[in-house]
Amino acid sequence: MPHDHHDLSPSGHPYRTDNDGPLTYWQQMEIALRELLIEKGILTAAEVSAQIDLMDSRSPANGAAVVARAWTDPDFKARLLDNAGDAAREMGFDIGVLHLIAVENTDMVHNLIVCTLCSCYPRNLLGLPPDWYKTRAYRSRAVREPRAVLAEFGITLPETVQLRVHDSTADMRYIVLPARPAGTEGLDEAALAQLVTRDSMIGTGLPRALE
């Protein structure tokens, strides 16, 4: 990643400007509307905290577990490609009411996911989307020059590989089922899941190669 290492937190992100920075107008609005909703009995402070905990508990590791299961269990893979939401629910993941569609990468086809309208993302499975997914640049160009976008992520697809770009909607979300890396025949499901990156499930990355 082209990170500038100045002013980064130990987790490799820029320091966040939240609780100890000057109060912004929009933060003021968040506090005010949250308090009004609580006072009017529309929601409770406990519900807000629980919802934050729930989103924090969702991460690409959940999607990686689903992908690894599909790599090792052909019947599960068939169910995943038929109805990804139901297949993920089988594994105990709460997908909500959204339609989740898995699209499979092969030697001949590479899939890429975008939301040109806003930021729709398989968030119930993978957690919140990365910042770049929500940027104007990604949303504009993923459907205009997807191969150039992929190149910025370090992926150069052979011209013989068909590239399919999937535009998400509010109630239809996609996840890429990446191709299982070569040479991984001896790995079990847990070890395979370690190879599955967030970006490989968006289509802007590939699974990690074996060391």
């Binding site: 929009w26 933060q27 005010a32 308090e35 807000v48 989103m55 924090d56 504009s140 160009r141 910025e152």
Partner: protein
């Protein structure tokens, strides 16, 4: 936006601040409770025009869009919001102080 020309994809990310996580939670809860939908959120976001995408952060746009929908749904009035925002601002100079109640 989809299909427009644009520059390189900015790769830097950030850890979500508490206030951003709260905005996200408010959206999830209010839509789960049926007060408005994701489409309502997006309609309000698109009404902001292109400048908003340059001048405001993601969750700044979201809180504005949530507020727009909640006021339209009649859950509180603009006056109530304005009054409460003044009370909030008077509590302190930082988010921590102002949300510490």
């Amino acid at each position: 936006m989809g299909g427009d020309a644009a520059g390189p994809v900015p790769m830097e990310g950030h850890d979500f601040a508490l206030w951003e996580k709260r905005v996200d939670a408010l959206m999830a809860l209010c839509s789960a409770k049926g007060h408005f939908t994701v489409d309502g959120l997006r309609r309000a976001l698109e009404d902001m025009g292109e400048d908003a995408f340059e001048n405001h952060s993601y969750y700044e746009r979201w809180v504005a869009a949530i507020n727009q929908n909640l006021i339209e749904a009649g859950l509180y009035t603009l006056e109530e919001l304005g009054t409460r925002m003044q009370v909030v601002a008077a509590r302190g100079r930082t988010y921590g102080d102002a949300s510490g109640a």
